[in-house]
Assembly symmetry: D2
Homo-oligomer: 320 residues x 4
């Protein structure tokens, strides 16, 4: 790299070594047991919401312009119609009339729907998080920095930053870099202060607008609103444990620097070890926040323990 | 059906209609917001544990004797070794030296690792839960009773029933039907009382013993310990919201009645609408319980919102 | 069915029972050893052409409007970049520097590129070819009428019916039903006479035009030229062994009757047991025919022996 | 490499540059149009046989000991049981009673059943055939030396070398290196002489013996009979266009040199550019040869045009 903006950001924001040479989880270290316990204390009513989009063939992917990513593919391996027809058979088991079962499989692109990125997802200067060579991510998978360690860690306070509400718009526009001033204004409107170990949920309104106006086919690879380098610096200062967005790319696109594609992935994932979530659905939880006048809640979103994977499909929940 | 044992169990235990004609989630209805809030109150230290087995090619499936189920298959679609070789390319994006990313996909049999069954999984007399015809589960998936509604509901108190500990054995033997007396003895040893809306985690020790003595290849289709019809009746009386086991089949095999294969699936899933989890890993959480002298904890295990699926891969967590 | 046109066609054209009650291959029975031997006699120069489209993610499918069919998906499981990086490993084999291998898999929708339909593909009045119930095609596959028996039969004379050439157009228009008169005119222009056991290759020019003008995304589900009921009757009279087209649906769309979608599939596959091929690429072979002034050639196109499949990916060849 | 046996073999047998710097098909160049025409002349009766094993979950793979290769996986996406139940639906098409269709997909490991290896399959000293770097085979596939060019070339004379018949045994033993003397003795017994451009089919009897005595689970990774370095030298001298075997590894295992695993792949594929086929089924064709007292025939086995693949599933046929 010889982009001075990125070089500077790397110098200021790198967390390599901060949690020891063996660390593979980066800012998730900021989610301490204490933070989990405090998050549980936020629970008042037990109201619960999902922050995942539906997993099916409808979206979010647009395979006409895309690389190898596909929408979730669901296939049946046993059906009730076979039971009705009296033809279901499995091994040596003898079936009686009307007894039987249904079974299925799913093929999921790990980054293809609501997901966390692992720290094996992005490389800069041939390295990934914590100064590991990119060759540790081979065709057999991520030998280090995989998503698997995130199966028993992610429960903490989350704050929904409802930008459209705070800024009085329907949705942030594509290409809009979210400023620190906008973040602070939104926090103020929501009467909440950030703290080390928080996860911030950036509701830009972008996904809902695109789905409403165009459909999923306009979603990926479009110009998106999102945090830029200034916000990344602020995440670092505030010791934010993770950020998730209702966009495909997490960061503003087109980016403020154009020396590389998706520079916040390079600085944020590769150097900060930042937990990044994409394709989250925030409308239901936003309504709940509004109704409860409360934009902080217990947030539980463990990854599936997918050995050597660079991301994990996710079913994140907010508990009020 | 004309097995009087099963007919009698169906008559006594059926929940069809109990939560209205549109209900698709059965005993999960017993997890009220109040129960979630009480579960959150159990959190003292924020210690967190995963109850999932690793998702990879190693197990639990044994494809030599199996039907169409396979172990989780993980495949890369972008690698760091390609970045190192300078050959990664994606669409029109121009890559600079050492910048790049890794990406992957997984193919998961929904019942193939740690999972919840949906109420579209089991049929008896051509019907599934809530008197729906089995033909609603066609090759396009479960049009009703799918797993998707379980994405925003499952957070409640769980009790780990550590049978080997209470009964002074290494593991329950294959074919051992767990009695109500054993359940009550274990609850007593753990100084906890069940309550409506609880999820019970049946640690039989079976999975660990098989893995230790044989490996995954001895696991599925073997004789397993597990609840029988008596226990099912007790679940109904106590308004248990769900049960998960460290076995493949959930219920004792061979079963006490042999008119059909897996009779507790037929009575429990089809008629009670019972939430059933299989292939859970309980050793880590059992150690934590022992250490904390506390076998109850906040348990969060939302399904992935897989449209029309009959089960969901899962990353369940216990929070102390 | 109570469409008199279809009822009449079924009555006139049905081959149920013609080759015995156990038959599963229909008109492929017309390809006798004698016909194969005669086809071999046509070989003069040994010039060889492929009639398959490329198998890759580019097409022919358009997953934005489609059902569950996808374009061929190719995924690597071992790469040369891993060898270069010195990280390839397989089981216990010790690798030395620079030795290694590459490996991969493909996921193919059987009807998704160049293929033969099997006689388990289409149903009418709950029956498939040779009066078998549609319930023989369950989620485990086609228990009868699968594509597997076509692995050792399809080598015969084929005639390329180059309609654009004979009719002086670039391509037949979508919705154009190819008449018997047009077929006979084309045969005459090509100075060849049909004979029992021939396979007819219908070059409409449609695929090439769409790819040139729109791209693959305009291909499937569009209005296509193709044979209609009159041509089907003529195939029957002439004892044609099979027909393949450079279109997605084989038959003219919209069809001449609208009581059912794709009526020639119902009458042709279900009742005649006609061998039908779709998504064939005819441009290269058409140039060769023109150059050689010869539109007949040895045609070899065995199916893959895919147990219980309803179609087979194909690599058909013409040998001059 | 610094194994003198391999270095010597490379020096003697390399075909790099022989067919020009752009060549990607190696010894397949020896199949000239003339050779195809002569093969067609061998056709006397039109009798036809398949040389492929069945493509299904039964074999040949043994996923308990294997790497990532799986047996062919077949999955339905539309079924006749859905038609019978009256629940089939596709897009906006309105279905009438009893009309409908069946559809499916297959997932095939390209080297997982009967197949040709492409010249992108094996590397030695970081190079593949025709002095290309192994980094041309990345996670996107084989940018050069893929299987796709073999879609319109492979039709030639094949000779079935029926070793068990000629040598008076049931099958060659595992670990038996087939000598040139044995090849010549077999050719003599079959009264046929090799010629440039021939494909040799090595019937060792191994696959049939293992399936009969153990089943598919004993097949892969076992000690196999097959050609060794001496035979490879003879292939080169005789300008053989390709070799296929009824074994998994093509070559004798354990190999005569142990400096690398599968040395004939390294010398044969990487340096000679030899066409290699594996997992062929020869019993049916062997019976036909015996019956016809003729071990040569027209052999047609085009690859599927799988873009960038390192091998292709295959439906090879013999025509007498």
């Amino acid at each position: 790299m010889n982009d001075p903006v990125i070089e500077d950001a790397v110098r200021r924001l790198s967390n390599w070594g901060r949690w020891g040479p063996e660390d593979e989880i980066g800012t998730v270290n900021l989610i301490t047991p204490k933070r989990r316990q405090e998050a549980a204390e936020l629970v008042r009513t037990g109201e619960m919401h999902s922050l995942a989009i539906p997993y099916d063939r409808e979206g979010p992917w647009n395979s006409q312009k895309a690389d190898k990513r596909l929408n979730p593919q669901h296939l049946m391996i046993q059906t009730g119609t076979d039971v009705q027809a009296g033809v279901q058979r499995v091994g040596d088991v003898e079936y009686i009339d009307g007894w039987g079962y249904a079974d299925d499989l799913v093929c999921l692109c790990t980054h293809g729907a609501t997901h966390w990125d692992s720290l094996a997802h992005a490389f800069l200067d041939y390295r990934m998080y914590n100064d590991r060579p990119c060759t540790l991510v081979d065709v057999d998978g991520a030998q280090r920095n995989s998503i698997a360690p995130l199966a028993d860690k992610i429960a903490t306070r989350a704050i929904l930053l409802d930008f459209p509400r705070a800024l009085g718009v329907d949705a942030l526009d594509g290409g809009h870099p979210i400023t620190v001033a906008e973040i602070e204004l939104t926090l103020e409107a929501e009467k909440v202060e950030v703290r080390s170990g928080d996860i911030l949920l950036f509701r830009t309104g972008y996904m809902s607008r695109v789905r409403r106006e165009v459909g999923w086919e306009g979603y990926v690879y479009g110009d998106e609103p999102g945090p830029g380098m200034e916000a990344l610096t602020w995440f670092h200062q505030e010791d934010i444990a993770g950020v998730a967005t209702d966009t495909w790319a997490f960061e503003v696109t087109p980016a403020e620097v154009d020396s590389i594609f998706l520079p916040l992935h390079a600085v944020g994932l590769t150097h900060m070890g930042l937990l990044v979530g994409e394709n989250f659905a925030f409308d239901a939880v936003a309504e709940a926040c509004e109704r409860n006048s409360k934009w902080e809640f217990m947030f539980v979103a463990p990854a599936l323990p997918l050995s050597k994977a660079t991301a994990s499909p996710l079913s994140p929940v907010a508990i009020f």
